[in-house]
């Protein structure tokens, strides 16, 4: 019997695995998708290799790329962006690691308290989470983003709107700021050269400004895996988990099994978690292992699916309900001069509007930019609005960019300034993940159905989104954009949360204040689904990781008699030389040269 089995090696599960491995527990980490052990070989910079929606290596599908992605029922026009494989969706994220809006938490007493989803707060205070934020920020690490041209222009626009600069990690008021990113700052030749011969590690360290966050980061070339610029858990927490015996006194290396899709959780007659059953993708073999504690981190859709397919209790019918997705929209400006939108950090700048959400400046490669520009709920500009009149606020077009509009907008992708809109959206039970009755089960059981009622969202959610769009348009106008396009997207789910939400009330939550199931002992959730709400609009990964760290402590204390460590010990950074040495000695590094070991040791 294992001490702990963690289902899912993405943004949250890898954190629990590493933290508990560092405490010496016997941890089995299961991942449904590919191993992605060597990003330099596994990934390329090509969009169609990575992001082709049906056979790209980042599709939500099996490790074997010849096999199609896994099925989901989407009864509305929806792009639900999740990745399978070790690292999960952090493999293509931009590394944005802001803290949550304090107003999303219990006990918030700010003057704007009424502006948040006050019916669904986190069942803990913001202050309680800060030490866990700090622990994760040091571990990843999280650093202030450097500027490329798009950030420089975006900050000028934010100042045009009269916004102040936020200098603290905490969000305190409407303000702009360089992102706090889980991306290593550039050093050496990084960011200063486009000559590949001058961009190899250790000549270049940290972010090389290649602009390929969405295709997976394997820069700088030649760097040990734990020194890759973007801190996906595949290069940070997972390597630490696999070498915990080497960098943590009393630590024990995690057992990682990829290509292992969990299909059932079993409980004993006392309603205690007992075992996990999974299917091996390559062979179809079915395997079951027992554990004292089970942690579900399969993602916002697959965690409730696994729960429901396992026949676990759901007395208040909230398993899968309450999906929040930040009701994402996008406003793009065609700018009078170079913006470098395809280069640098995926996003290095943001504006927070507490109680409403946030805006980010976002860069993308041309295929993704064009594809996302053609994805709208508002018809075709100049022809029909699909029942969504208005909403331009001075923008030249609202709706899909296709035809001449698309070609004109894309004529110089490095003159675009893309502002993505992330809404502080309400938890609503109608938006949910459940099981499909329309599509036959796959090899893993009944398949998920993702239901998002785009046109029936709460008044607060809609008001917030429209406010943010107006601010984005104003910003682009102030910068002299020659054309401004609002896309008005259908569900474009790049941030998904709250389908297994922790909460203050037993009537509308699945997890208690420690992310343990209300109905099954020893069963925890540590992915975005555990979040109580959409954290006010900021990117969710850091908050999920902080919460996963807190959950790890809870598991260690309650089920293994251990003592807490956050606030009492100093975290080891994933880029610490001791970790570099550990991953290289373990054969995890993508570079093996002796001199690199010496560099790490120094």
């Amino acid at each position: 019997m294992r001490d702990v089995i963690v289902v899912g090696a993405g943004g949250g599960g890898a954190v629990v695995a590493k933290e508990l491995a560092a405490r010496g527990l016997d941890v089995l980490l299961l991942e449904a998708g590919a191993r992605f052990a060597n990003p330099e070989k596994d990934w390329t910079h090509y969009e169609s290799d990575a992001n082709h929606p049906f056979n790209g290596y980042f599709r939500f599908g099996p490790a074997d790329r010849s096999k199609p992605e896994w099925v989901r029922e989407l009864p509305q026009s929806t792009l639900f962006v999740q990745l399978a494989g070790v690292g999960g969706t952090t493999n293509h994220y931009q590394g944005n690691s802001p803290r949550a809006m304090p107003g999303a938490f219990l006990g918030y007493a700010g003057r704007d308290a009424a502006a948040y989803d006050s019916r669904h707060p986190f069942p803990l205070t913001y202050r309680e989470l800060i030490p866990y934020y700090e622990w994760v920020e040091h571990t990843l690490p999280v650093q202030t983003a450097p500027m490329g041209m798009k950030e420089e222009i975006f900050f000028r626009g934010a100042q045009n709107l009269g916004l102040p600069l936020q200098t603290s990690k905490d969000i305190t008021r409407a303000a702009f700021r360089p992102q706090e990113n889980a991306v290593l700052q550039p050093q050496g030749t990084a960011g200063l050269s486009s000559d590949p011969t001058r961009l190899r590690f250790p000549l270049a360290r940290g972010c090389t400004f290649c602009g390929h966050c969405s295709q997976g980061c394997f820069e700088p070339i030649g760097a040990p895996i734990n020194l890759k610029a973007k801190r996906s858990t595949s290069v940070s927490y997972v390597p630490m988990a696999l070498t915990a015996d080497q960098w943590s006194r009393g630590g024990r290396a995690v057992t990682l099994i990829a290509d292992a899709f969990a299909t059932a959780i079993a409980v004993d007659n006392q309603l205690r978690a007992r075992s996990v059953t999974w299917r091996v993708g390559a062979s179809g073999q079915i395997v079951t292992e027992e554990a004292r504690v089970i942690v579900l981190s399969a993602g916002t859709v697959e965690t409730p699916r696994l729960w429901l397919n396992s026949g676990l209790p759901n007395p208040n019918d909230w398993v899968g309900r309450g999906l929040t997705d930040h009701f994402v929209d996008a406003v793009t400006g065609v700018m009078p001069s170079y913006t470098g939108s395809t280069k640098g950090n995926g996003s290095g700048g943001r504006i927070d509007y507490p109680g409403a959400g946030m805006l980010e400046v976002v860069g993308e490669t041309p295929g993704l930019r064009a594809g996302l520009s053609a994805f709208s709920d508002a018809g075709v500009p100049g022809y029909y609005d699909n029942g969504l009149p208005g909403g331009g606020y001075g923008a030249d077009t609202v709706g899909r960019l296709i035809g001449i509009d698309l070609k004109d907008a894309m004529a110089n992708v490095d003159r675009l300034l893309n502002v993505d809109v992330f809404t502080d959206d309400d938890v609503e039970s109608q938006n949910r993940a459940s099981l499909s009755s329309a599509i036959p089960p796959d090899e893993h059981g009944p398949v998920p159905r993702i239901e998002i009622h785009q046109r029936q969202r709460s008044k607060r959610t809609v008001r917030n989104r429209e406010f943010l769009v107006q601010q984005a348009v104003k910003l682009l106008q102030s910068l002299g954009a020659s054309k401004i396009h609002r896309i008005n997207k259908p569900p474009f789910v790049i941030h998904s949360h709250t389908t297994m939400r922790m909460g203050t009330s037993e009537t509308d939550s699945v997890l208690d204040a420690h992310c343990e199931s209300r109905w099954v002992r020893g069963l925890f959730v540590a992915d975005n689904s555990a979040l109580a709400n959409g954290i006010g609009g900021p990117n969710p990964t850091l908050t999920t990781q902080a919460l996963a760290t807190r959950t790890s402590e809870r598991i260690f204390r309650r089920y293994f008699g251990g003592a807490p460590w956050v606030g009492r010990e100093s975290p080891v950074s994933s880029v610490d030389p001791i970790v570099t040495l550990a991953v290289m000695r373990s054969g995890l590094a993508s570079a093996q040269r002796k001199e690199l070991i010496e560099i790490a040791a120094s």
């Binding site: 650093q143 041209m149 600069l165 960011g191 395809t342 029942g387 296709i402």
Partner: protein, 237 residues
């Protein structure tokens, strides 16, 4: 030309009606399988017109299917090609036809729903049937009715799909896929070598500088601030 809901032909308005479960269910279980387009296919199969699209798809020739997708590529990313000329929107810069992704688009659609008849044929069938509804008795230079439409008529087809529950998921994702393929490296990407064999048209028409291990784009830190404070500071103006 601009279509309002009142202009939509009655035969199309019925698509929003209740699905014919008997006919649709004959095909649904084997037809629906995977992925986002699979999800779109699931919705398509709930349409009362599904059986007629299936029948039309089964009698479609590969040439007719390819012809339909050429018309679709010209619609989303027009260029100087004959399909763009036919729709009366044909800018001089290369478009989707020149991007070399037509076959890949069809394969992409088929791989997503790998059953007979190919899903690409079903999509072509419904596009052509809607095209005939938008422009009855139309004619033109191409075998596919959709490819003979004027640009505003193609928009009308999309409009009908957008307001038809069974077709919304497809009309949402299909233009996005086409645009992605046209502007990405897809047209010249070689899966065997995992590199490109030529400069992609999508890069040319977007003035993209291409993939790179790094760029000389670093412009320092805003006000030279390389870290944020841990404390709950109020910020500065």
């Amino acid at each position: 030309m601009k279509y309002s809901s009142l202009d939509v032909p009655p035969v199309i308005q019925r698509l929003d009606g209740s699905a014919d479960e008997t006919r649709a269910s004959l095909h649904r279980r084997k037809f629906l399988r995977i992925g986002m387009l699979g999800a779109a296919a699931a919705a398509v199969a709930t349409s009362s017109s599904f059986a007629s699209w299936m029948a039309r798809a089964q009698s479609s020739t590969p040439d007719l299917i390819a012809d339909t997708y050429n018309g679709l590529l010209a619609f989303i990313v027009p260029g100087p090609d004959s399909y763009s000329v036919e729709q009366s929107v044909s800018p001089s810069e290369p478009g989707g036809l020149a991007a070399g992704v037509a076959d890949l688009l069809i394969v992409t659609v088929d791989e997503s729903v790998p059953y007979a008849p190919p899903f690409s044929a079903v999509v072509a069938a419904l596009l052509n049937q809607l095209a005939e509804a938008v422009h009855p008795n139309g004619s033109g230079n191409f075998p596919a009715p959709f490819s003979n439409l004027l640009y505003p008529e193609k928009v009308a087809v999309l409009q009908i799909m957008d307001r038809t529950d069974a077709l919304k998921p497809l009309s949402g994702i299909l233009p996005a896929i086409v645009a992605f393929l046209c502007f990405s490296d897809a047209g010249t990407f070689d899966r065997a070598t995992r590199t490109i064999t030529a400069q992609p048209v999508g890069w040319d028409i977007s003035n993209y500088s291409g993939v790179a291990d790094g760029r000389a784009e670093f412009r320092g830190y805003f006000r030279n601030r390389q870290s944020a404070s841990d404390s709950n500071a109020q910020g500065e103006n």
